[in-house]
Structure formats: C-alpha cells, structure tokens
C-alpha cells in the first residue's frame, strides 16, 4: 500500500492548482520564444577559428557542380548572392575524407600517393577506395552502435549485434529492411536473434512484487513500450514524442512545435500500441535468472490505456488502444501483425528517409538541414504550411527532399548517401573562407564547417600517428582500434577516462557532441594515452624515424606528415628544427606531443 502513497505525488496536472493565482499560472506558462539555432552557430564559430589557421587560398573559383546536391547548394547561393569558400586543396580534402569515411587520419604513403596522382577523377576514386575499406565498416558500425545504443544492456547478445551490424553495412543492405528487422525481431532468446536486441535492451524494470521477492526480472511493459516508442521515433523519424507521451500537445507546445501541438496523448498511445502486445521476459535456466537474456514475443494482451506507470504521469483512459501510425493514421491491415504494420508504414514514409539523410548530412557537413536532428516540426517543413510568425524549419527543404528521394530510388542504400555527399563540391569546399564571414552565410553551407574529432576517432588517430595501436578485447578477438570494439567501454581506466572526456557515448543514452573544455586540454597534455605513446622508448613511430633519418629536416617533415597529414611550412620547419637541437629523441617526442595538442590534429577541417 505504501507504494501507492509514493506514486501519487508524481502526478502533475496541467490545470492550475487551487492555491495558485491566475497570475502565477501566467508566469508559469510564459510563452517561449523560438530558440536560436545553436548548433549551426557553434559549428560556424569553431570553424572560423580553426580555418583561420589554414593557409589562405586564392579568390573563390567557380566550382564544378558534381551532383544534384551542388545544384541545390550552389544554386541557392547564386540566387542569394552568397559568396562561398573555394574548393579544398588535395591534402585538406584527403584528410577530411579519410576521417569522415574511416574515422582515422590517412596513412602517409597513401596520402602522398593521392596528392601525387594526376587523374581528374582522383577524388571520386579515393572516395570509392575509402568506402570499400574495412575501416569504413569499422567507423560506421561504431556510429550506428552509438545511435542504436548497442550497450551493455544487450548482455552477451552485444557481440552478436555487433557482427550483425557489420554484416549489413558490408552488404549495404537496404536500410529500410534493416530497420524492419530491428522493429520486428522476436525470439526465444535475445542472445540468438540479433534484431530482437534493439527492443530487448530498452526494458523498464517493474517495481518489486512483495509477493515474489526473488522475481527481479519483472518488466513494466507499458512503460517499456512508451520509452521505446519515444526512442525509435527520434532515431528513425526524427520526431521528439517525449512531450506528448505524458500529455496533450495543446496547452504545452504552442511555442515549441506547431505539428505536435495538435497531437494528443491518445495519439501517442496509439503509436505505442504497435508494440502493445510485445513482451520481454527474462529467461531462467537451471533455477537461476539468465540476466539480460530475454525472450521477446507478442503475447501480451495489448496496450492498456490505464496501465500503471512508474516513470510517467499516470495514464488515464480505458481499454486497449488500437495501433495507428501517428503521421498518417494508418492502422494494420486485416490479419497483419502490428509490428509488421509499424515497420511497413514507417519505413515507407518520406519522413523516415528525411530523418536518415538529415542525420548523415549533419555528421558530414557539421549540422543538419533540420536541427536538432531528432526534433522535426512537420508543419514547418515548407512555407505553405508554416504558421504566421514562424520560419520554415529546414534550411533547404528542397535539398532534403531531393536527398530523401534519391535515397529511395537507390534502394535505401546507406553507402550511396555517403558517396553522394562526399562527391559533392559542397562537401569538398575548403573551411578557409577569404573575406569577411557573416553568420547569415551559415545555412547556405558556404564553407566546410569543422568539427572536433570524436573520442574514438581521436584515440585511434593518436594511436596511428604514433604507430602504437591498442590491444583491446572485442568479443573473443583482440583489436587495435577502439572503433573496432563491440563494447568500447571495455578499455583500461585511463583510456576510458580520456574517451569519456571527449564525449564517448555510454550507449545507454543517445549520442551527443560536446564542446571543448580545460579538462580535455589537460588530458591531451598529460594523459598516458598521449604521453606514453610519444615516448620513443616505447616503440612505434618515433624510434623508427629516429633510427632511420640522420637528417633533421626529414625527421620534422615525417613527424608532421604522420601526425597532421601534411608537410610543415617554412616557419613551422624552423621551429621544429630548433626543437630537435640538443637531445634529438626528446625533441622529436616534444614535437609530436605539440602537434597532437594542436587544433590541426584535434579538428577535422
């Protein structure tokens, strides 16, 4: 009985409490003003700083339009007389493409070969090579595992999910089929059905049953379904249904989302109801609970509108909610399984395609055409439906739709999206902008925006630059790169702390980008992740270079090429030579340390 006493205070009504005056109510519901676009501004401001350090390019040349992306990007710029940066130089482009496609800095020999090559289509060829590499699979498996939060909650099933993800990326399976698998997976054991793991890992544990003290495997199914529905809507549809999972949009979202303000909690119930019959039941074996191993089946009675909630405002309503797709109202066909209907309606909807291409665009171009990427306002997609006083949400809705359509026509190939973006001149613009940059230019993508390397990219690039790969466990294997691990948290304490400081996702929560901080700077200077690796006594690149080169100039150049993927300029060379004077080994270590601490290493520009 005491449990109820605890839960009652949780209720938060939307009505004015009796003791609250009308004025206080007004205060509490003061209108929100449309927030600024912080992410794009942030990308732009960081870029301006980093790019300023790059060697100046000449006046902006006219760039070739390589595909439909360029038509839209440069077309708009021309129409609005927006100046843009010139095309990137070969070294700039190559490093960027290597990092974006494979999560690692380029191997010096391959970089040199690329720069030396003369054929006019060498960039396209490089892109193909990168996309065909194993490192491409490593990096994008890591990306999707962050996005799908493939973490410890999958238990030993995690390794299975890891290989399943690698496999569909290698085969370039149509993305809509992959998502269909993830939404419809079922099986006696989540350890044997990889697709079932996506739902299995999202269980919300029920409160303990005083009658069954040992049964700590109980799942609160309605809460689980709600949580999962909010999650997959963000991931696959770019829609944030968190608010309407607790209350109607009306009276809350007037200033937040003009589409969701028209939706009710009932609409959310009906969306959630596609999973209303789906259960996770922890398996037992030999009298013990097989912790994290779950059966996923569809034998529950359905989504009860009045079911008790632990984590939400109490559900009110009666009866079982019939499933209906939030965007179209479509219901399962006669005889169609609810989850099959969900997969069908969702993956065939244009918003599914927009959401995916927008996410990938954000990864590669600095920020999405719609930001935040999981918070589309569908009433503000084009000017016709956008209410007065609001702006159209996407910075270029025509481009986004063109990319979404291109995605569909190309059989939902993820690889095709990457290829198309990388090949565009828009992607290949320099991040160095001659002339005065204005904030207004930002949504036009008038320059390439920079970003800091992700935690895993940074770690792996440090390992490569110093020639000292790791030795990490991934399932039963040993792998040299963090980006190859099935569970990246399973690194030593020092590496874990380093990665977390640079924003490594814990895969319990959705992935986030983070900004710079002095703790990051401290770790770059002092963490063993860096300092051990530059020690020439520990092996790797530096002892090899020191042993090989008797010429200090070559030594400096080699350190530069291996670390920041380019040769030093004359003044940089002078400083490097000075550093080598005296204790050569120490000087070389210091030089590489300094380069690893420089923005030219830390940022992808």
């Amino acid at each position: 009985m005491r449990f109820l006493a605890i839960l009652i205070p949780l209720s938060m009504t939307a009505q004015t409490p009796a003791h609250q005056s009308a004025e206080e109510f007004e205060q509490a519901h003061k209108p929100l003003v449309q927030p600024a676009k912080p992410k794009s501004r942030e990308a732009a401001s960081v870029t301006a700083g980093v790019a300023a350090k790059l060697p100046a390019r000449g006046a902006a040349e006219r760039v070739a339009h390589r595909n439909f992306i360029d038509k839209h990007i440069f077309g708009r710029m021309a129409a609005n007389r927006i100046p843009h940066a010139p095309l990137s130089a070969d070294e700039e482009f190559a490093r960027r493409a290597w990092i974006d496609a494979t999560g690692r800095i380029p191997p010096p020999a391959e970089l040199a070969a690329f720069v030396a090559e003369k054929s006019p289509d060498k960039r396209a060829k490089l892109i193909e090579t990168l996309l065909a590499s194993d490192a491409f699979i490593d990096k994008w498996t890591y990306y999707f595992e962050d996005l799908f939060r493939a973490g410890g909650r999958m238990g030993p099933g995690l390794n299975l999910f890891h290989f399943w993800t690698r496999e569909w990326l290698k085969l370039d399976r149509p993305y809509n089929e992959v998502v269909t698998d993830m939404l419809t997976g079922a099986g006696k054991s989540s350890f044997t059905v990889p697709a079932a793991l996506y739902y299995q890992r999202d269980f919300v544990k029920a409160k303990d049953d005083p009658e069954a003290p040992d049964a700590h495997d109980l799942v609160n199914q309605p809460d689980t379904v709600d949580e999962f529905t909010v999650t997959y809507s963000k991931v696959f549809l770019g829609l944030n249904l968190a608010c309407i999972s607790c209350h109607d949009g009306a009276g809350h979202l007037e200033k937040v989302n003009t589409f969701l303000v028209t939706k009710k909690r009932e609409d959310f119930f009906r969306q959630a109801a596609f999973f209303g019959k789906t259960r996770q039941i922890m398996n037992w074996e030999n009298g013990y609970q097989a912790n994290t191993e779950y059966t996923v089946d569809d034998e529950a009675p359905g989504y009860e509108r009045g079911a008790e909630s632990i984590v939400r405002v109490p559900r009110r309503g009666k009866g079982v909610a019939p499933p209906a797709f939030l965007l179209t109202g479509e219901q399962p066909k006669a005889g169609e399984h609810a989850r099959d209907a969900l997969a069908r309606t969702m993956t065939s909807h244009v918003q599914f395609r927009r959401a995916l291409v927008n996410r990938i665009w954000a990864e590669l171009m600095g920020f999405g055409i719609v930001e935040p990427v999981d918070d589309f306002d569908l009433n503000r997609y084009d000017a016709k439906t956008t209410p007065a006083g609001w702006t159209v949400q996407p910075s270029n809705p025509v481009l986004l739709d063109a990319m979404a359509e291109d995605f569909r026509v190309n059989n939902h190939s993820f690889r095709h999206v990457i290829r198309t973006i990388l090949n565009s001149s828009a992607y290949q613009l320099s991040s160095h902008f001659a002339g005065e940059w204005k904030e207004d230019y930002t949504p036009y993508y008038a320059r390439k925006f920079v970003r800091m390397l992700s935690a895993a990219e940074l770690h792996d690039s440090i390992a490569l630059a110093t020639g000292q790969p790791g030795k990490f466990s991934s399932g039963a294997e040993k792998v040299p790169m963090v980006q190859q691990m099935s569970e990246p948290k399973k690194v030593d304490g020092e590496t874990q702390r380093f990665m977390r400081t640079f924003g490594q996702s814990n895969r319990d929560d959705m992935p986030k980008k983070i900004a710079a901080s002095s703790l990051q700077a401290m770790l770059l200077m002092q963490s063993k992740v860096v300092t051990d690796r530059v020690q020439s006594s520990k092996g790797g690149l530096l002892p090899a270079l020191l042993a090989k080169n008797s010429d200090n100039r070559t030594l400096v150049e080699q350190i530069y090429v291996h670390t920041v993927s380019r040769k030093p300029t004359a003044p940089e060379l002078a400083v490097g030579l000075e550093a080598l004077g005296g204790d050569r080994a120490r000087g070389a270590e210091n030089l590489q340390w300094a380069l690893l601490n420089s923005p030219e290493f830390l940022f992808n520009y």
Partner: protein
C-alpha cells in the same frame, strides 16, 4: 547500481547527457554574448562562507535509521542506538564518528521531494530545480552558476577551477553541463579513485611539461601566421589549453590529490572519504576552488539493507559517509583561517549533506530492504555560519509525515530549492537573481518558486544560521 524501481529513462536522461561529463556548454556561441542578469527581488545574502562542500548520498539515505532515527519493526539489534544529546538519538554502530561531532551540525528533518526516481532526484540535486525535458539542455548546474558568480573574484594566482566535482559522473544524471552559460564555468569532475588529471609530479616531469608547452606556444604562433584576424573563436580552445597548463603547472594541484596513508585511513578509501580529503586540501590551499560537489553512490538499498553479507548495505555506506564527513569537519575546525585568525576553516566552509529522498519507514519490504520515500527525509548542514547542535523540523512517531517544518514558513516543508538558496546566501550570492539571455528567452531564476507540483518559498533556511 541495481536499479529496482526503474529510472532508466533513456529518453529523458539523454537530454542531460548533452552535458556529458560536465564538459558541454550546450550553447558555446553564448560565450560571445555577455550573460545578462536582472535582480528580480532583493535577497540579503549573508556571505558567511568562502567555500561550500556538498556531499550527495546518491541512491537515497534512509532517514529513519540515520539522522531522524525511529525505532520500528525494521530496527536492527546491532544499531547500538545512543542518546547523543537530549534531543538526539543516533545509531552509534552506523555513525560512531559523527555522533561525536553533532555539536557542529544542524539536521533538517522536514525535507520533501516530489521525485521518486533516482535520476530525476539527482538532477534536482545538481540543478536545484526539477527536471523539465523541454528546457533541460539550457539549464546549468548550480555549481556552474556559482562559478559564473565567482568569476570576478578569481585572483591572478587562482588556477584551480572554481567548481570541482568528485565522482559526479557516478550520479544517474552524470555531471550536468553549463547549459546556456559559457563552457568555462564547467565543472572539473574528477574520479577520486583515479586521481586528478594528475599533473606532472616532480621537478623533472614539470620541466618536461613546461618545455613542451613552450614549443606548443611557438608552433601556435607560426601556425597562426596566416590568421588574418579571423581567429577569435578558435581562441576558445587555446584558452582551455592556457588554463589547463596553469592548473597542471601549479604544484598545489597534484598536492591536493596526494593523501598520506594516515589520512586515507582516517577519511576512508572510498569516494566519500577521498572526496572529502580533496575538499579539505582545496579549502586549505585556497587556489581557486570554492564549490565542491562530492557524489557518494550506492545507497539504493531496496533489498538486504541491513544484511552484513552483501557487498553494499546500509552499515557500509553509513560508516563510509560517517568517517568522511566527521574527518572533514574535524580537520577544518582544527585549522585557523589565514584570512581571519578568529575563525576556523570550518567557519568559512559550508558543508552540506543532501540526498534524493528518504526510504520507507517501518517494517522492511519483501526483499529485506526499504523502497523510496519522499514525504520526509533529512539533510545536514555544518560550518559557514551554520549554528550547529540543532534540529529543524520534526516527523511523527513512525517517521512517515512531517509534523513540524521547523523554519520560518511553518506551513511549508523544506525543498532542495531552499537548500540551494541557503548555499547561495552563505556564499554571498543574491539568490533572487535572474539571468535573461537564455536561448529559450525564458528567464533563469537562481531559485525558482515554481516547483514541480506546487509553489514553494524561494527563500534560504535562515533558521539554520541564526
């Protein structure tokens, strides 16, 4: 931590993970815009404390077998309950050290929360306001606000970050970000077991760092040769490097993390003990840190709360906290302040114990534990102007309901907002202030009277101090 009542709210928590480990100013571009403040009312902060140390018992401390002791069906025979004072009974077995220090401590027994979920309760304890998912990305931690307020007071020789966390990321919500405030007010969250992002120890290591840093600066200059005045934003990372170097280069920093065997034995080799030890050192060195938030996790005893055989039980956690806080109070009170010989360091340091909520009083549950209970629970205050040896508030015989609130507002229980108003007040910060240029344009009030479920008194707990 074994989450019984689920607080694995991946969808809400992810909003807070924007902060990651206290490193994100979600709106980094705000660094350009000056923070706009507006005094909305007039509070009279008392300014009795130079430092503040918050010890958060994450997982929820059971109030009726700690600082609001009640004899009930669950009371264990080995608690060794003793009358510490006329008005105060404590289980001596759980708090042998604190039993001797209660003359320094004021207990509040009339706390109330609307939360029952750890993650939300811990967010509340870091942000000083209930979680609102629509706003969470822009809400700073209280420590970041304090860091912002104290920026003007930093001296040239101050190298330590104003706001340091000890194992903050063991809290369910992690270390909260600076929200709409610039990133430089971020917490520096340290894993006390691993030690600081330890600076170089010894002259040789220090010499090497200096050598390298000089080279870095030289390279920075030549690489910036083609800058042409567009570098202003990029300076942000260099600024972090500069302040990082200052911290690393300050011998006081690694010393703050160097503990003798005797000290560790006295404080305890756990996150509470080591956190308090660092806090003592930070206060002593007065090198820039003014606000420390220590997270001591693993209090969530839904099962086997008093079972000596299990790895985490009430005895272990209480003993850890007991030793840590007692040692901190003792060491701080034993040392005179270099600023005012008539005061001790404890007089200048407000020490606060907070927790998310209490635990169900009475008999144990079906799995020999106690579940969450938010209608009454406790917090502790010492130092920094607090008058010790007192108890504010009173619960009924079972410890289920508060019958006396024990402060100026007789009809209102005490909330986390009031705890933070008291902390702001002790630190000399006007808690009725508002910051207005937030991304949502909604004013950020330091202490917001609009509580989650009801209005509350946006006032300090003045009765602690008089």
């Amino acid at each position: 931590m074994n989450h019984r009542v689920s607080d694995l709210l991946s969808t809400r928590r992810e909003l807070l993970r924007v902060g990651g480990h206290g490193l994100l100013g979600a709106f980094a571009s705000q660094a350009l815009a000056p923070v706009q403040a507006r005094a909305a009312g007039k509070s009279n902060p008392r300014g009795t404390a130079r430092f503040c140390v918050v010890i958060e018992l994450a997982g929820a401390l059971s109030h009726i077998d700690s600082f609001d002791f009640k004899e009930n069906a669950g009371t264990q025979k080995d608690f060794d309950v003793r009358q510490v004072r006329n008005d105060l009974y404590l289980p001596y077995r759980l708090f042998p050290e604190m039993s001797k220090e209660m003359d320094k401590v004021a207990i509040v027994r009339s706390m109330k929360s609307h939360e029952v979920v750890h993650f939300r309760g811990q967010y509340y304890n870091q942000a000083g306001r209930p979680l609102n998912p629509a706003q969470a990305t822009e809400i700073p931690s209280v420590g970041s606000v304090i860091s912002y307020e104290m920026e003007a007071l930093r001296r040239e020789k101050d190298t330590f970050p104003t706001y340091v966390g000890c194992n903050l990321d063991t809290a369910g919500c992690g270390a909260l970000s600076t929200g709409f405030l610039p990133p430089r007010f971020s917490v520096l969250d340290v894993d006390m077991k691993q030690g600081a992002a330890a600076g170089p120890s010894g002259d040789e290591a220090m010499g090497l760092l200096e050598e390298r840093y000089r080279l870095l600066k030289k390279l920075d200059d030549v690489m910036a040769a083609s800058r042409g005045g567009r570098d202003r934003q990029f300076g942000a990372f260099r600024d972090f490097q500069n302040s990082a170097y200052r911290i690393l280069g300050d011998p006081r920093w690694p010393r703050a993390f160097q503990f003798s065997k005797e000290e560790v034995a006295r404080y305890g080799d756990n996150s509470a003990g080591l956190g308090c030890l660092f806090a003592r050192n930070a206060v002593k060195s007065d090198a820039g840190t003014r606000y420390i938030h220590i997270t001591h996790p693993d209090w969530d005893h839904h099962r086997n709360i008093y079972n000596h055989a299990v790895k985490s039980n009430h005895y272990i956690r209480c003993n850890e906290f007991d030793r840590a806080m007692a040692a901190l109070l003792r060491d701080l009170s034993a040392e005179k302040s270099p600023r005012d010989a008539s005061k001790t360091l404890l007089d200048e340091t407000l020490v606060v114990m907070i927790t998310e909520f209490g635990r169900v009083p009475g008999a144990l549950n079906g799995i020999a534990g106690r579940h969450h209970y938010n209608l009454a629970y406790v917090s502790l205050f010492a130092g920094g102007g607090v008058k010790g040896g007192r108890i504010l508030g009173k619960t009924d015989a079972a410890g289920e309901h508060v019958i006396e609130n024990g402060w100026k507002y007789a009809k209102h229980q005490i909330k986390t907002e009031n705890v933070y108003a008291s902390i702001y007040s002790a630190l000399g910060i006007d808690w009725k202030k508002e910051l207005t240029n937030t991304p949502s344009k909604r004013a950020y009030r330091y202490v917001d009277a609009l509580g989650a479920t009801e209005m509350l008194m946006d006032d300090e707990i003045a009765d602690l101090f008089v």
